[in-house]
Symmetry: C2
Subunit: 487 residues, 2 copies
């Protein structure tokens, strides 16, 4: 990877050519069957694994994240491509539904109608800085768009431009070698990012990053002459509530776990627990403080994020009523900070509910558990919410119910950092956690990039393979209302 | 129904109270199981059927549509409620997905994760004028939002205000009697419609109507501090292509069918075939002209639509190169008009591709079949596209493929008017046919009003019933990647 130099910003003419190539690939990609499409995803995974020895050091150099974390993140990225390949083969992606003609259908006879999900077309993917593999060029958005049959044009994150070029070269090469008609383009620079979402040939956007940048791109996407869906995964404070029973039973353990979760990746996770509500005077705060004071300084992703963190932390520390429990540092290589505030004061200051991206968290101390639900109900939409409680505690059940109305994932007696890539995973919650309901992690992420087409009375020979009676692609399908497994 | 007087415009205070009632009902409605939810839908259907003798004449009076058509439309409306009740019972609406904890999951062990679809919350539904039952107060949008577990606030269409009041009273009464915690509110007036989509408690919008009004509401929905999805079913010209082989084999039959479809409902269907491409000199045009000249004058829905039609038709007739084949009338009770133009001229004039809502259609005559695909590729997104062809004709297959890329439903050797309510139906296509991919007809319409929540390691007792191991609601679920039928 030593041959890769820092890329220049993409010009308008280059952008047009890259999007035009994606548009040309869209038709042939849409027509490819599950075997072919799964083959592309597996080829990309294998090619990335084959370059692991070169990719991880390059990622380390640009992101300042430790080797072990990056090696694990690359495994997650290739594992996601493999899981989506299997999902493509299952047929779930096509969602094929067949209603045979029925003269007895009520209130009127129905014709033969068959519906299949087809890819939207070229997708613009905006990379995140904090996961240079898993939410970047070959990350969840790209993998799920490819699994849906869409060509992808990635806007590289300036935090790891050379890694982005390397990954794009490897993936594009692997796709071509596996016979894909195209599938991955890469652009660089702010202006290219703005032009990309406005390009008429782009049919959807996906983004992971800040509320400000994500909303700006969403606004551009919906203001187009032909508006397009824009799946933005934006900000979240991921509140954690510790009930009195849990604090009494294992307060110190909870405090230690909290410290580990909030300092993971130097607090630069979209699922980092930014707020924890705990009983005043419980063992949680002391144990968290103790554990955090032993956390070594570690480098942030880049100077821009470090500056944003220093600024945000200064604001939080300046709020009247907020006290400093662990007096961490800022700068390029900070140590974690822990703050605390009483629940009454917390309820008064909106700023305290906003995300501060970096290794800080705020403990909100309550005296009366009856104050919890009203305060929790005031949170904005969240990616995650966590309850530490006891199963037979009425309050715990109430908190699970309330928090599930405002979050995408409800975690019990564990920590929100760490997002498993599975069938049931949901990484996306009410606004501003995400711009549109949907998940950017797990197999359901594919659904974001499709639309349905129905065929009425179309002869077998002219139907797409997914809808033919002989089911040549061996898909699971719904036939006359009944789900039929893969033959 | 004679007691119903024309309702006044809803004031801001009234609107707030109606939306607040919907917001209060949202939580209890979301918690209700499939038996309860299906019971509400069936109760609404039965109550409407019980008032059929009063509702149809009231609809006739306000919409000027014939009795037979309205009686059929009411059957369609109640049938849709019944079908969605069965769909709710199948469990499809919950889309429950369970991943058990797996220490061997790759690349890392996974926790227990369970995902369920929950209702978005109160939905604003904007009624259409042209289907006073099926796309109005108790129509497809309302039925699918209720099936998703969302309370609904309907903006009544001013074309049938008294019928709207009657249907809302019947449905709200039936829901209450069936034990629903709420579910249907009704507002009147332009200002109330604008305020409704901007109300913070409204979580989604659904609309059937013109491109102009739909786009304006979409723009308001996405410009909110918290943007919401807005499912607008807007305009469509529903192109029909007749191949040379089909025209030769049965041109006269096609022409007669065409005349019937374009004059159905006085051309006031969103699936009305506004453009038909046929070989020059074929029997299609003559047969269509013959059949249309025998169609009696029939009343349009209201004066505003009649005026819009007169204006639009005048524009079309004035385009150079357009010739009048059947010289129909305008006014409150028009007769159908048939126009024709050569394909070269058609390709030059954008206006000729736009919808003209009313009993007119344009025959585009081609000499060379090779001209068809390039012209067809230039169409905007469509609700439907139709091919009349022969199965073994290469051109027919090519047209099916191209037209499926720009439409939501591809009809073969039939007509687009008449939208069956089934599992596989898709009534929604690329913009401007709809604002967001999705269908407003059929069981899949329910999916528009949900979002997913995942539960991680949550104890059985605190899980929602849809996700418990003992499956008390007897839902079909996906478990560890495998679909399991309803127990």
């Amino acid at each position: 990877m030593t041959h890769i130099t820092t890329p220049a910003e993409t010009t308008t003419a280059e952008l047009d050519a890259i999007v035009a190539a994606a548009a040309r690939a869209a038709g042939p990609m849409a027509a490819a069957g599950p075997g072919e499409r799964a083959g592309w995803l597996r080829a990309a995974a294998q090619a990335l694994e084959a370059q692991r020895e070169a990719l991880v050091p390059l990622a380390q150099e640009e992101s300042h994240l430790p080797e072990g974390r990056l090696a694990g993140e690359l495994s997650r990225t290739t594992g996601q491509l493999e899981l989506l390949a299997a999902e493509v083969e299952s047929g779930a992606v096509w969602d094929a539904t067949i209603d045979h003609a029925d003269p007895d259908w009520r209130p009127v006879a129905r014709p033969d109608i068959r519906r299949v999900t087809v890819p939207l077309g070229p997708v613009a993917v905006y990379s995140a800085s904090n996961f240079p593999f898993a939410f970047s060029v070959a990350g969840g958005d790209t993998a799920s768009a490819l699994a849906a049959g869409c060509p992808v044009v990635v806007k590289a994150h300036p935090g790891h431009p050379r890694l982005s070029v390397a990954v794009a070269e490897i993936v594009a090469g692997a796709l071509a070698e596996a016979g894909a008609p195209g599938g991955l383009g890469l652009v660089h620079g702010f202006d290219a990012g703005v032009a990309l979402i406005q390009h008429p040939a782009i049919r959807a956007g996906a983004f992971t990053g800040s509320i400000g940048a994500g909303r700006a791109l969403f606004d551009l996407a919906v203001a187009r002459p032909v508006p397009i869906p824009f799946y933005g995964e934006l900000g979240s404070v991921n509140p954690v509530v510790v009930t009195p029973a849990a604090a009494a039973a294992r307060g110190a353990e909870i405090g230690t776990g909290y410290a580990g979760s909030l300092s993971l990746g130097v607090g630069q996770f979209c699922t980092s627990p930014g707020i924890l509500l705990a009983p005043a005077g419980s063992a949680v705060l002391e144990a968290a403080g103790q554990a955090l004071s032993e956390v070594s300084a570690a480098p942030m992703l880049n100077d821009r994020i470090a500056e944003g963190y220093a600024h945000g932390l200064q604001e939080l520390r300046g709020v009247e009523g907020v006290r400093v429990v662990v007096d961490g540092s800022t700068g390029a290589t900070p140590t974690p900070t822990l703050l605390a505030v009483g629940i009454d004061r917390f309820a008064e200051v909106d700023r305290l509910r906003e995300e501060c991206f970096g290794p800080v968290s705020l403990v909100v101390e309550y005296e009366d558990p009856a104050d919890l639900v009203p305060v929790v109900e005031g949170f904005d939409g969240q990616l995650t919410a966590t309850v530490h409680g006891e199963p037979d505690e009425a309050l715990a059940g109430e908190l699970v119910d309330v928090l599930s109305t405002l979050s995408g994932r409800l975690v019990w007696n564990d920590w929100p950092t760490g997002v498993a890539v599975t069938y049931a995973m949901q990484h996306g919650g009410p606004y501003p956690a995400t711009t549109i309901a949907g998940t950017s992690v797990g197999t359901a992420a594919v659904q974001r990039f499709g639309r349905a087409v129905a065929y009425q009375d179309v002869p077998q020979a002219l139907l797409p393979p997914a809808l033919r009676d002989d089911n040549p692609w061996r898909l699971a399908r719904r036939v006359d209302g009944v789900w039929e497994p893969r033959p």
